[in-house]
Amino acid sequence: MINRIPRPEFLSDYKIPETILEYPSSYIFEYADVAVLICALLLASYLTLKKRSRKYIFSLSLFSLLYFGFFREGCICPVGSIQNVTIAFSHLDYKIPVTVALFFMIPLLFSLYTGRTFCSGVCPFGAIQDLVILKPYKIPYPVAGLLSVLPYVYLAFVVYFAALGVGFYICRLDPFIPFFRMNGTFNDFIYGSCFILVGIFIARPYCRFMCPYGVLLGIFSRVSKNNVKITTDTCTNCGLCEDACPSSNIMLPSPENTKEQNFRQRKKFGLYLILIPFITVMSGFIFQSLSQNFSSIHPMIKLEKQIEFEDKNSLIKKTDESMTFRNSKITMEQLKAEIKEIVSKFRIYGFYAGAFIGLTIGLKLLGLSLVRRNDEYCPDHQDCFSCGRCFSYCPKDKTTVQKPYLL
């Protein structure tokens, strides 16, 4: 490259100025976010486990909605950081920023000791959905059971696509970010409004049927050291708390089984246990054979198809993508070789993603045959968002207020 026009030689005392650049203020906010996250998590844990007050939890979630949602405008969030973690392991040239790594790890660590307090008090997505729960209806059990597999499938897909460099699908399919930024296309707002509208009647639709981070939190929360309790006193099995939970995560006392029922249950358990490896491998292979279809979403494969299409129809207007490729030094053979590599990667990762989905389905089936013996009402720690609505419904609790809170 050469200068087409010779550089001027000025006769006057004009000095060539520096390039005018607007530098960013600083990245101090990223570190402040981590500090706020830790403080909010500590506070949320204190409020759900010790203070046990719905009012305070609600206030904290409002603060989080305002800070993480509207002030910081959503990026980076722990939900989206799954993808950054994925590409940190799959793309060796990407180094993950410390703040993003901390955003991913800290809520997980907290969930191992205090349950899903992140969902109740800190997550802005949870907060915005919590605000609109006005008339929650219970989803019939079989439907809810089927839908509960969705977050696992979604997690498998987003990690699959992030690892292959297709894109960050959590960010693309994020329903609430247009509201936080007050900016977005018409379709974005329609999509987000659907979630909000559904959220009036079905509590927390995103958290329950989509959130991939909730999957990880749920697994860890199930084995958590401390969890939210409906009452600190002994349960009288009155069943009032069951009405309080908008996402029907309160387990009833299990009925006494007869010997015959127990035997049947065990037989079922054994059968599913044998089936699990079979389902896992099967689903892995099914996904692998479908990976050819998924790979067409990759930008490079799209480009190849576009070029072939244009070569056949010479009258058609060429896109910017294909023109850039044609003007570059890369040959079609190089592109084809690269695509071959990508497709083989799609197949390998596809098997893992399918196996993960199969394993989830197998374990969910196994869960059906398991009867958790408990003789009182208690929250299902895996799915409970620890929002604290049940506290005030319990007549045994000393903090009971006569009038239950609307929210």
């Binding site: 993950i96 790594a101 900016n183 084995v223």
Partner: protein, 184 residues
């Protein structure tokens, strides 16, 4: 019997909790080893950019964070600047109808005959790249697009990057903030 059951459940729970803590700590260690202290930000590689114009339409901000940057040390200070004038206007009247920039963000200042200085008003620039295209066709390529991080929200997945036809967007470390052209 009942007490036994509860304690067995608790024992399993404790074991799994320890295993979970181990997993999280191990993962943290692996991640921290792969991490850097600075942030990653989006920036345009000016040598890859093809000025398709999507920067002005695909940003999540209503006025794009992509701005045209002018390297004075590459500019020819032309009187007839193709980045400034619309093609076909050789009277060199600086009226709005003769300017290429749709928002009039390029300011022209007389230095000495026949040299003119051109500066960009970042508040007006929408990053459409029209001037960039003209300058790279006929001029010294001293105009080029850059993401201004004063405005950029630094989305986890840049929505312009998603649609960039030439893969010109890349993540760079925040200490540098710009990918400037090197003057010839």
């Amino acid at each position: 019997m009942k007490k036994d059951l509860v304690s067995r459940r608790n024992f399993i729970k404790k074991c799994l909790n320890t295993a979970g803590t181990g997993t999280v700590l191990g993962l943290s260690y692996a991640l921290i080893k792969k991490s850097i202290a600075s942030e990653y930000i989006w920036q345009i590689d000016p040598y890859k950019c093809v000025q398709c114009g999507r920067c002005s339409t695909d940003c999540v901000l209503s006025q794009s964070a992509v701005k045209c940057v002018h390297s004075f040390d590459m500019c020819g200070y032309c009187k007839l600047c193709y980045g400034y004038f619309k093609p076909g206007f050789y009277e060199m009247e600086t009226g709005a109808e003769n300017q290429l920039c749709p928002t009039g963000a390029i300011k022209r200042k007389f230095i000495e005959n026949p040299f003119y200085e051109y500066t960009i008003d970042y508040d007006l620039c929408i990053g459409c790249g029209k001037c960039v295209k003209a300058c790279s066709m006929f001029g010294n390529r001293s105009l080029y697009l850059q993401v201004s991080h004063k405005y950029c929200l630094n989305c986890n997945e840049c929505s312009i990057m998603k649609n960039c036809p030439s893969n010109a967007y890349k993540r760079i470390r925040s200490e540098k903030a710009f990918l400037l052209k090197v003057p010839l």
